[in-house]
Structure formats: structure tokens, C-alpha cells
């Protein structure tokens, strides 16, 4: 007789702790993978689910393994149909049949993938932007809702009783159930009163009176049984949470792509644009993104070209602003669109052009834009020097004058991802105070 033990009620998830340890370890790797994807993917992609294949670095378990591409080996394989001794087979690149010896013993774990939810992706993305938790929560929260009338309901709070609809129901019910009307009863009561005061009362007369009294009593009973307003008549106004209809916004990304902008600068700029997009996405249903890049001439391009294609030439910043103005006039009238602009540059500009940029902003653009943010990407070593002073490139100095005049203009120098967020705090922190257009 064997010993049977029922373990089904034992706790499951014995390996939960192990899995948590594994995920903790994998987290760093995932962060790196997300960063990679932000770098190579589209701006709007950040705000989505991601497949992340598990990178091996931090969670690999190295052992001494024989190398597959050296030495002589012999394999015994089953299923020979056509070969004779001495035949030669061309090798396949990955050696499909070359697993004979180690099958089962070698732990060949092919890459497996995680699907990260939108929240998890954003969490990892925010981590080195150093966003405060409050902001993170706000960004992740999707849409604002508004209560909207949506018909009637049989249940609800007394506050929401719809009197008209309730009375209509009650009236219908009263008719259907033949609730005696007041007029009808009053007429009988009058008749009774009239008969009662009549002096010469014969037997027939008295009988009629008695019938009338009985009829009145019956009516009164009926009236009591069928109330004027019954709970079943009551209707409440029904409300539904409806997503707040948002206006559309357009976001202009302006970037200097001249030779002085390296990989690091572009990466920082991209993170800046991504964050702006996330902020805007919270408020608007539809966001168009316009990419304008410039060297000594500017052009509207698609996202891929914007970040990855190379272009050489000098730097004339004003061309980008002019291009933006052109696009606004052509496609995004300020009456219908909320216009946001983000400009990233290393501050280099041809001499004399910076003033022109400033005047373009003063005269036209700032009137059209909701917000205009300018980030100057500097070397990390330069933060010490430039961090606090107003000195700097000519572009910086020129923009300074705009900054003083327009509350919806922001400018900052950034050197690392963590510097990006404060720009937004300034930008959106002021929001309630100013209503620019309208």
C-alpha cells in the first residue's frame, strides 16, 4: 500500500519569490532595452505597449561551454535514407543537425520576450528623467471625464429624480388601472349630499342613496389602493461619464541637425520631444507632430529623417522658424489648433541671425503659439560654467529677450536626461495664470 498525499491544497506559487528576484534583476536590463527603443522608435511609440526581449547580460548564467566552431566532432544521427559512407554534406550555418551530442544536457534557452504594459514602459522611461511621482501619475492618467445626460434610469439618488417623466408614468398608470378621478367622486358625493337633504325619502330613494354610498366607499378604497405616485413611476436622470472632448493640438519639433549636433545631443532632444508629446497627449485627443529640421536651410521632414538622416551645412536657425510659420499658415490656423513648439539646438548660429530669430518670435510666432520651449543642449562639463549665467551663445542671449516678454516662452540648458523635466515644470506650472490667445 503506497502512501498517497494530496498536495493540491498546498500553497501554489512556491517560486513566486524566485520570480520576483529574477524580475528585480532583469529590471536594469529592461530599462536599458526601453532606452534603446525610445532611441530607435517613434516619439508616439513611447506611450504604448512594448515587447522587450530579455537581454542576457545581467541574467545570464555563464558556464564553461565547448565552442561550437572549433575542433572535430562526431555526431550520430537517426533517419539516414540516402547517404553512403564518404558522402559530404554542406554545413548549415547554425548547424541544425549538430545538436546530437548535447541534446537535453545543454541548457540552450532561446531568447524569450516580455510584454510590458504602457504603465511599465512609462515607468521605466520616466525613471531617469526624474519626474516627481505626482507628475508621473498625471501623465499616466488617460482622459478627463465629464458627466453627460444619457436618458433615464429606474434607480438613482433622490436628487436626480426627473419630475416630468415620473408624473407622466404615474398618469399612465392611473389611467390604466382606472384610478377614480376626483371629479367623478365629487359628483357622487354631491349627489349623496343632494339626496340626503331631500325630505320625502321613499324606500326606492333610500336604496339609491345606499347604493351611491357603497359606490363612493368602493371608489375611495380603490383610490387608496392605487396611489397617485407609485415607486414604480419614478424615473431618475441618468448620467454617463463621457470623455471630455478635446481640441486638437499640433506640436512642432524643431531641431538643428548640423554637424555639431552629435548622437548624444539628438538623443537628449528626442527625449525632450517625447516628454512634451506625453504631456500634450494628456490634454488633447489628437496631436499632430511636425518635424522641422534645419542646417542653413530648413525643411519639414518625417520622423525617421528627422532623427536619423545626416545633413551637412552651416547653421541658420531662423530658416526653421520661417518654415514653421509657413506650415502654420498653410495647415494649422491658430483659431483651430493649439500650437506647441519645442526647439532643440546646441546654440550655434550664424552671426546676425539670432536677432532675426528673436524678432520672428516677437512679431509672429509667440502670438500663435500656446507654448514655446527652447532647450539648449550643452556639454555636461559646461553646466558648471553656464548653469547660472545669462552669458552664452548668441542664440541664447537673443532668446533671453523673448523670455522676458512672453510668459509662454521657456528656455533651459540641459546636459543630461534629468535636466529635461524642470523645463516642463516651468512651462506648465504657469499655465493657470496666463491665457494667451482668445
Amino acid at each position: 500500500m503506497p502512501n498517497f498525499i494530496d498536495r493540491r491544497l498546498n500553497p501554489k506559487d512556491k517560486s513566486l519569490g524566485n520570480r520576483q528576484r529574477f524580475l528585480k534583476r532583469a529590471r536594469e536590463e529592461l530599462k536599458r532595452a526601453i532606452k534603446e527603443q525610445v532611441k530607435s522608435g517613434k516619439i508616439t511609440d513611447v506611450d504604448a505597449e512594448h515587447n522587450v526581449s530579455m537581454p542576457a547580460r545581467g541574467v545570464s548564467e555563464p558556464t564553461f561551454q565547448p565552442a561550437g566552431d572549433s575542433g572535430e566532432r562526431q555526431y550520430v544521427l537517426p533517419g539516414n535514407r540516402e547517404f553512403a559512407a564518404g558522402d559530404r554534406l554542406p554545413k548549415r550555418s547554425s548547424g541544425g543537425g549538430a545538436t546530437g551530442a548535447g541534446a537535453g544536457t545543454g541548457q540552450s534557452q532561446d531568447e524569450f520576450q516580455f510584454v510590458l504594459s504602457r504603465e511599465e514602459v512609462l515607468d521605466l522611461f520616466f525613471e531617469d528623467l526624474e519626474l516627481p511621482d505626482m507628475v508621473k501619475l498625471n501623465l499616466k492618467e488617460s482622459v478627463a471625464f465629464k458627466r453627460r445626460r444619457a436618458g433615464f434610469a429606474a434607480t438613482g439618488s433622490p436628487m436626480n429624480i426627473n419630475v416630468g417623466r415620473t408624473m407622466r408614468n404615474s398618469f399612465g398608470r392611473r389611467i390604466a388601472l382606472h384610478r377614480p378621478g376626483r371629479k367623478e367622486m365629487e359628483a357622487i358625493a354631491e349627489e349623496i349630499a343632494r339626496l340626503e337633504v331631500e325630505p320625502n325619502a321613499g324606500a326606492k330613494h333610500l336604496q339609491h342613496l345606499e347604493e351611491l354610498r357603497q359606490k363612493l366607499e368602493k371608489l375611495e378604497r380603490r383610490r387608496r389602493r392605487i396611489p397617485y405616485v407609485d415607486p414604480v413611476d419614478i424615473r431618475f436622470n441618468r448620467f454617463e461619464q463621457q470623455p471630455l472632448p478635446n481640441a486638437s493640438a499640433v506640436m512642432f519639433c524643431l531641431m538643428d541637425v548640423s554637424a555639431s549636433m552629435g548622437e548624444r545631443e539628438k538623443d537628449l532632444a528626442k527625449r525632450f520631444f517625447v516628454l512634451l508629446h506625453l504631456f500634450l497627449k494628456r490634454r488633447y485627443d489628437r496631436i499632430d507632430i511636425v518635424f522641422i529640421r534645419h542646417t542653413d536651410e530648413a525643411g519639414e521632414v518625417d520622423e525617421n529623417t528627422f532623427f536619423y538622416s545626416k545633413q551637412s551645412g552651416g547653421t541658420i536657425v531662423s530658416t526653421a522658424l520661417e518654415e514653421m510659420l509657413r506650415v502654420i499658415r498653410e495647415r494649422y490656423p491658430a483659431r483651430e489648433w493649439n500650437i506647441y513648439a519645442a526647439q532643440a539646438s546646441d546654440g550655434e548660429n550664424i552671426s546676425g541671425d539670432s536677432e532675426r530669430c528673436a524678432s520672428l518670435l516677437h512679431d509672429d510666432l509667440m502670438r500663435l503659439c500656446q507654448y514655446y520651449a527652447y532647450v539648449e543642449i550643452i556639454d555636461e562639463r559646461e553646466t558648471e560654467i553656464f548653469g547660472t549665467t545669462d552669458n552664452g551663445t548668441s542664440l541664447w542671449r537673443a532668446y533671453r529677450t523673448v523670455d522676458g516678454e512672453w510668459p509662454n516662452f521657456q528656455m533651459t540648458r540641459i546636459a543630461k536626461p534629468a535636466d529635461i523635466y524642470p523645463v516642463f515644470r516651468k512651462l506648465f506650472g504657469k499655465q493657470p495664470a496666463v491665457q494667451v490667445r482668445k
Binding site: N18, E61, P78, G79, A85, A103
Partner: protein, 516 residues
């Protein structure tokens, strides 16, 4: 069997099971196993678990008790992923080499499957564990569970005291060297009993508590300046270190100068587990073959006795056929040679040779051919062989033909693989020898030994990789593993690849050159 008794004779009907039918089936299976096949088993303990618990169980290397480590979590996520995407089914059974022998039955299985698993695991594997010489010599079935309990508790205690990160770091390094943590040639010391372990730990703790650094500052009495004496000391120490040593983990545990006592204990735990699983890795074909042969024979016997319905038998045969399916090398499903298929086929073949031999069999297996004694022959094979010697002794030409085996030789420099032998008269010997060799772990695993260390000098640990057939190590993982060795050793570690035949050094690498 008389037909009329058949209906009342049935062990079970339908696919539902309950403890009563399980127990009835068990008794019938036991009778066949012990009386007909002559098996000899540990007492059985059958545990019913759910599929989630099964996933849990095999992500912790199949042990019911295991310490916590992220790599088990990784394995779980990996298995779970495959399972959920339908790329892999769950194993029907899991059996633990312990006394009593623990077999897991999954609650989702049908009664027919439960009977199959009982015959397969509780008798086939169980018999093999108890009788095979490797398991008898190298594992201690009665002590393993209590040892695992100790290991789990000990590691939890270490984590409480020294922090999870520190313990994890040691475990990571120890796991990397698990393959180099077994005694291949000499028998490991028996697992000490719980009491002894307790005593040892108390002694260690006492030493830790009473340790006083002041003693170190006492001047040594015999400050010898005689160079000969120093050299002699060094020689003696080397000799005392027992070099060269194939068990790297053991060497580090005993000799490393930087490890704390608890870290040594953790290395020991990992080493003991590696050692415990070492025989299993050498007997895959035999172990699975034995279990499969046993379940096949028992279930057929029960069917012949009219105790299993035809429907149940069909289900059993279907699952049996899946298990012993061997795709050809050019089939996309080909995962290598299926140990179930090969082991089962060989054991059936042995039965055939004993009972109904051809003249070819008489030439190849004069001792057993026609002896009729297949039970004794198989019991003997199960007890006294591991995969390599089993194949070398029993793989018959007719089976080589049946599997259409062929031998492919592959030289790294060539663009072609050459077919060296096929299933014909000239090829049998070569194929058999090569197949046997491919199951010899000693020959296929990198042979890495501790060669030399100057403990009084720079403490540079020198390892040597004996290269056979020019097979080198995969470089990325080699360097990463060396970093782990360095982590445990504390000083420079170098590895030299020496060709076994010529003695020529093919490569050398050292942790000094590897970036951290």
C-alpha cells in the same frame, strides 16, 4: 484469462480517478512489477499536485525543497512562457530519487494516465534509482530531503544575516562552476547526518564568536630564513592541496583565502546538489528507457489479464508512442536523439535477443542470445551500466538499422560534414562506439583542473583546460565564468588551454586581462 470475469476484474473504468481507484491500480501494478519483473524498489509516496505546482516543481530543478535564487525564477518564467504559448506540454510526472521515493501525479491526468505514471515513475524510475550502481555509490537517497531542508534554512539564515545580495553573489558564482563541482573519479563523502551537521555548525559558530584578532599579532616563534625550508614548505603545502584537482568548487571551498565560513558552506551546498544530480546526467537513456520499458510491460500485462479496458489501453499506447517518437535528423522537430526512444528500443531489443535471436544476434551477443532470460539480463544491465557502457555493450546491428543511424564527422575548418559510417556491416562498430562516446560526460564536458597555486606568493590560481579533439571553449561565457572563479578566489586566476595529446598550449587567458 477467462472472459466472463473480465468485467468485475477491471481496475477502473472511465477517465475519472479517485483515491480508491488509484490505490487499486497501484496494488495491481505493484504485483506485476515485483512478481513478474522482479523489480526492487524504495517505498513509494505518491503526491497529487496541480499543474501550477508542477510548473513550480520543475523550475526548482525538480526538488521539493530548494533554496531561493533568481535563476529558478528565470527558469519558471521561461517554462511558463513556453507552456502558455502551447510550445511545450507539461511533463506528466516528476519523480525524486529519495527514500521514500516521491512521485508527483498531476490532478489533471486521466485515470489511465495515472496508472501509466505510477508504473513508469513509482516502479521504473524507482527501481533504477535503488539499484543502479551509480546511484548506489554516489547518492544518498535517504538523506537528500533532510539535507535540502537544511540547505534551504541555512541559506535563509545567511540572507537574514549578510543580506540577499551577498548571498546571491556567492550563489551566482557557485552555480557557474556547478559542472566543475563534482567528483568524477573518487567517491564523495557521505552526506553527514543531521546531528553531525548541527554539531559542525555549532563548532563554527563558536569559533566565530571566540575569534580574536589579537592572536595574529603574536610573533612567530620560528622565523626561518632558510630558503630551502621555505621551498620545502611550499612543496608540502602544494602536496597538501592535493593538486591537480578536478573539483574546482571543492578546491575553492577548502582553499580560498577570502571566503567566510558561511560562504564556504554555501559552496558546499551547491556542490552537494551538483553531485547528487551527476548520476542522473550519466544515465538519461537508461533511466528513461528502464521506466518506459517497465510501464509498457506492466500495462500490457494488465491488459492481457483483462484488468484494463481497451479504451484506456489505447490512451496509454497513444501517450507511450508520443514519448518514444524519434524524428529523423532532417525533420524540423528533431531535437537530438530521444533518450526515451533509444532506451526503450534497446531494452525491447534485449528482450528480443534473449527470446528470439537471429544468427547475427548470436554472433554479436553470444552470452545472452537465446538464453530466454530477458528479465535477469535487463535487471543486470540496469544495475551495472551507465549510458555509455550500456550502449557500447548492447546496441545491436538490427537496432542501428531500425533507427537508420549514421555517423557524421565534422571538422571546424571544413565546409562539409562527412558521413563517416552508415548502418551497414562496416559501420556498426563505429556507430556504436561513437554513440556511446557521445553519452560519456567525462569526454564531452570541458576538462578543467586546478593545476597550481602559490599560496605564499602572489596566490595566482592556475587552471588548465585539457583540450580534446581541438574543441575550445566558447569565449564570452568562458571569460564570464572565469570572473566568477576570481570572485570566489579573490586573486588573479588564469586558464591555460593545453592540447591533451601534444601538450601544446593553445591559448591562455587571465582575469587580469578580462574587463570586469
Amino acid at each position: 484469462m477467462p472472459k466472463k470475469g473480465a468485467a468485475s476484474n477491471l481496475l477502473f473504468q472511465g477517465s475519472d480517478w479517485n483515491f480508491e481507484t488509484l490505490s487499486r491500480a497501484y496494488d495491481a501494478i505493484e504485483t506485476v512489477a515485483l512478481e513478474d519483473l522482479g523489480l526492487d524498489v524504495y517505498p513509494n509516496q505518491l503526491e497529487i499536485i496541480s499543474s501550477e505546482q508542477m510548473l513550480d516543481a520543475y523550475s526548482s530543478v525538480g526538488m521539493p525543497l530548494m533554496y531561493q535564487h533568481w535563476s529558478f525564477g528565470k527558469r519558471f518564467v521561461f517554462e511558463d512562457n513556453l507552456y502558455r504559448r502551447g510550445r511545450r506540454g507539461l511533463a506528466y510526472e516528476l519523480v525524486i530519487n529519495s527514500n521514500p521515493c516521491i512521485t508527483y501525479l498531476m490532478e489533471e491526468n486521466t485515470m489511465a494516465m495515472q496508472a501509466l505514471v505510477t508504473a513508469h515513475a513509482a516502479f521504473g524510475h524507482n527501481h533504477f534509482f535503488k539499484n543502479n550502481y551509480l546511484f548506489r555509490q554516489w547518492t544518498d537517497a535517504s538523506a537528500i530531503l533532510s539535507y535540502m531542508e537544511f540547505a534551504k534554512k541555512y541559506i535563509i539564515k545567511c540572507e537574514e544575516r549578510y543580506g540577499t545580495t551577498a548571498v546571491e553573489a556567492i550563489l551566482d558564482s557557485a552555480h557557474a562552476l556547478m559542472d566543475q563541482g563534482v567528483f568524477r573519479y573518487r567517491r564523495p563523502p557521505r552526506l553527514s547526518s543531521e546531528k553531525e551537521r548541527e554539531r559542525m555548525r555549532e563548532r563554527l559558530e563558536y569559533e566565530e564568536q571566540t575569534f580574536s584578532d589579537l592572536w595574529r599579532t603574536l610573533p612567530t616563534t620560528s622565523e626561518s630564513s632558510d630558503p630551502d625550508a621555505v621551498e620545502r614548505d611550499v612543496m608540502e603545502r602544494k602536496k597538501a592541496l592535493n593538486l591537480p584537482d578536478e573539483n574546482l568548487l571543492y578546491f575553492l571551498e577548502k582553499t580560498s583565502l577570502i571566503l567566510e565560513p558561511w560562504q564556504r558552506e554555501i559552496l558546499r551546498i551547491v556542490r552537494v546538489i551538483a553531485q547528487y544530480f551527476y548520476p542522473q546526467r550519466q544515465t538519461k537513456v537508461m533511466n528513461e528507457g528502464c521506466a518506459t520499458f517497465v510501464h509498457y510491460t506492466i500495462m500490457n500485462t494488465l491488459f492481457d489479464q483483462g484488468r484494463v479496458t481497451e479504451g484506456a489501453m489505447l490512451e496509454i499506447l497513444q501517450s507511450h508512442t508520443n514519448v518514444v517518437f524519434q524524428p529523423s535528423f532532417d525533420d524540423p522537430r528533431f531535437p537530438g536523439i530521444n533518450p526515451y526512444a533509444l532506451g526503450f528500443a534497446m531494452m525491447q531489443d534485449i528482450e528480443r535477443i534473449c527470446v528470439d535471436p537471429t544468427s547475427e544476434d548470436r554472433d554479436w551477443f553470444p552470452e545472452i542470445a537465446g538464453s530466454g532470460n530477458w528479465r535477469e539480463t535487463l535487471l543486470d544491465a540496469w544495475a551495472n551500466h551507465r549510458d555509455e557502457s550500456f550502449i557500447l555493450q548492447y546496441l545491436s546491428p538490427s537496432l542501428i538499422r531500425k533507427f537508420r543511424l549514421f555517423l557524421l564527422s565534422d571538422e571546424a575548418d571544413e565546409k562539409y560534414c562527412e558521413v563517416a559510417s552508415i548502418h551497414n556491416e562496416r559501420g556498426y562498430e563505429a556507430i556504436r562506439a561513437a554513440l556511446a562516446r557521445s553519452y560519456d560526460i567525462g569526454a564531452n564536458q570541458p576538462d578543467i583542473q586546478v593545476m597550481d597555486v602559490d599560496l605564499l606568493g602572489d596566490r595566482h590560481l592556475r587552471l588548465q583546460h585539457n583540450i580534446k579533439n581541438g574543441v575550445l571553449l566558447e569565449e564570452t561565457s568562458r571569460d564570464a565564468t572565469l570572473r566568477h572563479v576570481r570572485h570566489l578566489w579573490g586573486y588573479e586566476v588564469s586558464l591555460a588551454g593545453v592540447e591533451a595529446e601534444t601538450g601544446e598550449t593553445l591559448y591562455e587567458c587571465s582575469t587580469a586581462d578580462i574587463e570586469e
